[in-house]
């Protein structure tokens, strides 16, 4: 029978088959933008998951093809229009038993490797390094408790790209200002928690997803078998910028990792030194503009206009133009009057004295405000208690 005849007689079959299976086989997997499977695994856990997934997909596909071969054969052959007369059988206890037991056995065969993989993934013992991850609205914080290093990691994609004013770069929405740096070849134990709402830390190539829940400490382990940059995203709806708090992990050699730790410690020392000196208004404004954009603009808006009913505007606000101490305390300790549905978190633990001083100076001399006030880090420090 010619192809055209087949297509004419069985439009249903052809379109169904094409739709259902064509996606799998017709599109070459070589096109990265038409990726059909997981990203390339770089840890033993991710590798195990990929193998398990591939095995299960194949089993499911085989079952699917066999079952629907029966159905489609029946659709073609057992038609009234073909003159087929209906049989009247309507039960078969043996058959029911068979097609209960066989699927059950198939499930058991899937459950065994799945159990093994899960058990392997849960063993966080004998790790070389511990890193703490905290999810914030809307950024991640990474702390290395043993090395006394800690920092925030925020989306680095410029607002202009998101608002379609400039062209988007290659790692649009998957780039941060300070990536998480880890050494290759070492077993790293991660502990995860949340600061405000539930987030989830997910890096597909590491094969890891774990919820960051306030009040809980979850854990998992990772061993990066190769150097490289691996990107992920928050995987639990956490508010308006849930799609804008990516994760970037940079795996480097153990030597480079030690060098990076040393550099981080130096920078931290420089930061606290900066807290003691006196800053000029211009220095504060430059630093404050950047810090505002990275931390405050998410809620208060890039021009300080807020969102009606949800986040207050800073342009002309009582707090930003009123008593200075009130302003500082608001940023440090948060605020919830009930007038707006959202609650302002306390930024005391998230921002340094220098950052807060710079942000407040910026807020009081920009965004439509002209108070002329200049805030020094020492003033912020004094109000921290």
């Amino acid at each position: 029978m010619s192809m055209t005849l087949i297509i004419k007689r069985f439009p249903g079959i052809v379109s169904r088959l094409t739709l259902g299976l064509g996606f799998w086989f017709a599109v070459p997997a070589a096109f990265a933008d038409y990726a059909l499977n997981f990203q390339r695994p770089v840890t033993p856990v991710a590798q195990k998951i990929l193998e398990l997934h591939n095995m299960i997909i194949v089993i499911c596909l085989v079952i699917f093809v066999i079952v629907f071969a029966f159905m489609f054969y029946s659709i073609i052959a057992h038609r009234k229009s073909r003159g087929h007369k209906a049989a009247q059988f309507h039960e078969n206890a043996k058959l029911e038993v068979v097609w209960t037991i066989i699927p059950f056995l198939i499930l058991v065969s899937m459950a065994i490797p799945s159990t093994a993989t899960l058990l392997e993934m849960s063993d966080t013992s004998k790790s070389d390094l511990t890193i703490k991850i905290t999810g914030y609205q809307w950024k991640w914080r990474y702390d290395y408790p043993d090395q006394d290093v800690g920092f925030f990691s925020t989306l680095a994609t410029p607002r202009d790209q998101i608002e379609n004013k400039t062209a988007k770069d290659e790692h649009y929405l998957l780039e941060v200002d300070k990536p998480l740096v880890i050494p290759t070849g070492k077993k790293i134990r991660f502990v995860v928690t949340g600061n405000d709402v539930i987030h989830s830390w997910w890096v597909p190539q590491l094969g890891i997803k774990k919820d960051a829940i306030p009040g809980f400490v979850n854990e998992f382990w990772v061993r990066a078998d190769e150097a490289g940059t691996f990107r992920g995203q928050c995987a639990e709806l956490c508010g308006k910028d849930h799609g804008f708090m990516p994760i970037v992990v940079q795996a480097v050699s153990p030597e480079d990792f030690s060098k990076w730790i040393a550099m981080e410690k130096q920078q931290a020392a420089a930061e606290s030194a900066g807290a003691a000196k006196t800053w000029s208004k211009d220095e504060l404004l430059v630093k404050g503009k950047k810090a505002y954009a990275g931390t405050c603009a998410a809620c208060h808006g890039p021009e300080g206009k807020g969102i009606a009913g949800v986040f207050p505007a800073l342009d002309g606000s009582k707090v930003a133009t009123g008593p200075l101490d009130e302003h500082i305390k608001t940023v440090l300790h948060g605020r919830h009057t009930g007038k707006y549905s959202a609650q302002m978190p306390a930024f005391a633990s998230q921002l340094s004295d220098v950052d807060i001083a710079a942000i407040i100076t910026f807020e009081r001399n920009d965004l439509g405000n002209k108070t002329g006030d200049v805030v020094q880090p020492s003033q912020v420090k004094a109000l921290r208690k």
Binding site: I63, Q88, F89, Q161, A235, A308
Partner: protein, 520 residues
């Protein structure tokens, strides 16, 4: 029972619809309401898919986008799918079991009329200061504690919706258990009645749990409790356990009545009895029982102890067994039948096919370590749309085309019905099949903007969404035309039709089976 009362004339006008206690009228009310909500929910999905056409924020801001994903789900589940099937239950169950009406007709009226108020609360939440709920239909705290007044409107709406479902379910159980015609034992009643009987028990067990959870959220938000606030000794994960204890039976509530429809339609158009009736009953009951012990497969990444993760993985995988049995029985019903493929049969067979794709992706999600890659990605979004659309929506259309000639006395336009089926099928698959790949490639769900590599599949999905929604215009046209007129429908309507409803005139009298038929 009643004396020989003559119901006055067949009531008319606004008061007919406000005060009716007639199961056929109430069935119509539910169906009309459901399809209005389907339009609302469908439009929201177009807002979502429009924003996701390409990377960048073009149309809406992220907060409103989250309101759309949240309210779209609530509207579709509670405003469309559930009321539509209660509408089918109302129209069909009394006729199929030879009863004159539902057991509690006045409560039946109230069960429906709660819904427009609930829907008003839900939709108006979008217009409240601060906007509607934006933490997902799953309302996880602490995020849902942050929402404004819109969230409170939604929580109260959910209370009303739940009440309507519970009352409706009590009615269905009382009707089926007490009012079957003499001779119709439970194991002789139509599968649609069986699946609704079991679903009604699921509803009675699960909806109060949701009500409890929602109440705890209300008190956490306004009355000083800290059920879900870790800083005060509470537990955000408690919400997830309680919600999903409702949530998992809920999804079986969504599909079981549709399975009942498949079990009515396929034998009719195969001209062959349903294969394995007893097994089908036991399989449905097994699914219902198992649905209560699998809830935490929605929570594999929260950090449960290993024993929990393994238990829920095994229990979830087990559900594939009775579900598979049902699929095999439907195919065996077709096997060696004498099939024709009118529109209801297309929807039923297409529904089995589509649901099975979703069932297999669900089996993949059941595997805990693999789920670490699927959870909260578009893979899950693809999975649940395949099962809900495949079973519930295909089942709904199968039922409507199947029974519309009985309800209206007119045959619908068969050509247009087929067009509706094929265009919807193409559109639906174009919308959701690529989403499997988006999830595998790493795209999370509930995000308004995405990394560049996800663009192509998102665009296919958006085109599919507009195509699918547009295709529903055919359905509305067909339905309206059929209600107004068309070729006269016979009593039996379909060559292979079997069951008490097919012994009544088309359309049936306002009150049917005032005298119970005898069933051998």
């Amino acid at each position: 029972m009643a004396t020989a009362h003559h119901h006055a004339e067949h009531p008319t006008g606004l008061s007919r619809w406000l005060f009716t206690t007639n199961h056929k009228d109430i069935g119509t009310l539910y169906l009309v309401f459901a399809f209005i909500m389907a339009i609302v929910g469908g439009l929201m999905s177009l807002v979502i898919r429009s924003e996701l056409w390409k990377p960048g924020l073009q149309i809406v801001d992220p907060l409103f986008f989250n309101e759309m994903t949240t309210v779209h789900a609530l509207v579709m589940i509670f405003g469309f799918a559930m009321p539509a099937f209660v509408g089918l239950a109302n129209w069909q169950i009394p006729m199929m079991i030879g009863a004159p009406d539902m057991a509690l007709p006045r409560m039946n009226n109230w069960s429906f009329w709660i819904l427009p108020f609930a829907a008003t609360l839900l939709i108006s939440s979008l217009f409240m200061p601060g906007g509607g709920p934006s933490g997902g239909w799953t309302l996880y705290p602490p995020l849902s504690v942050q929402g404004g007044m819109g969230t409170d409107f939604t929580l109260l709406s959910i209370h009303l919706l739940g009440m309507s479902s519970i009352l409706g379910s009590i009615n269905i159980i009382a009707t089926i258990l007490n009012m079957r015609a003499p001779g119709m034992t439970l194991m002789k009643m139509p599968m649609f009645a069986w699946t609704w009987l079991i679903t009604a028990f699921l509803l009675i067990a699960a909806m109060p749990v949701l009500a409890g959870a929602v109440t705890m959220l209300i008190t956490d938000r306004h009355f000083g409790t800290h059920f879900f606030d870790a800083a005060a000794g509470g537990d955000p994960v408690l919400w997830q356990h309680v919600f999903w204890f409702f949530g998992h039976p809920e999804v079986y509530i969504l599909v079981l009545p549709a399975f009942g429809v498949f079990s009515q339609v396929i034998p009719t158009f195969a001209r062959k009895p349903l294969f394995g009736y007893d097994s089908m009953v036991y399989a449905t009951a097994s699914i219902a029982f198992l649905s209560f012990i699998v809830w935490a497969h929605h929570m594999y990444t929260v950090g449960m102890p290993m024993a929990g993760e393994l238990f829920f993985m095994y229990a979830t995988m087990l559900i594939a067994v009775p579900t598979g049995v049902k699929v095999f029985n439907w195919i065996s019903t077709m096997w060696r039948g004498s099939m024709t493929f009118e529109t209801p049969m297309l929807w039923a067979v297409g529904g089995v096919f589509t649901f099975t794709i979703g069932g297999l992706s669900g089996l993949m999600c059941a595997i805990t370590p693999a789920d670490f890659q699927y959870q909260d990605t578009y893979f899950v979004v693809a999975h649940f749309h395949y099962v809900i659309f495949g079973a519930t929506i295909y089942g709904l259309f199968a039922a409507i085309y199947f029974w519309l000639p009985k309800w209206t006395g007119h045959m619908y336009n068969e050509t247009l019905g087929k067009w509706h089926f094929w265009l919807t099928t193409i559109g639906f698959n174009l919308t959701f099949f690529p989403q499997h790949f988006l999830g595998l490639a790493g795209m999370p769900r509930r995000i308004p903007d995405y990394a560049l590599q996800f663009t192509e599949f998102n665009q296919w999905s958006t085109v599919g969404a507009f195509f699918t929604i547009a295709s529903q215009l055919i359905f509305f046209y067909v339905a309206f035309k059929t209600m107004k007129g068309g070729a006269k429908a016979t009593e039996k309507v379909w060559d292979g039709a079997d069951g008490l409803e097919w012994t009544l005139p088309s359309p049936p009298p306002y009150h049917s089976f005032a005298v119970a038929p005898k069933v051998k």
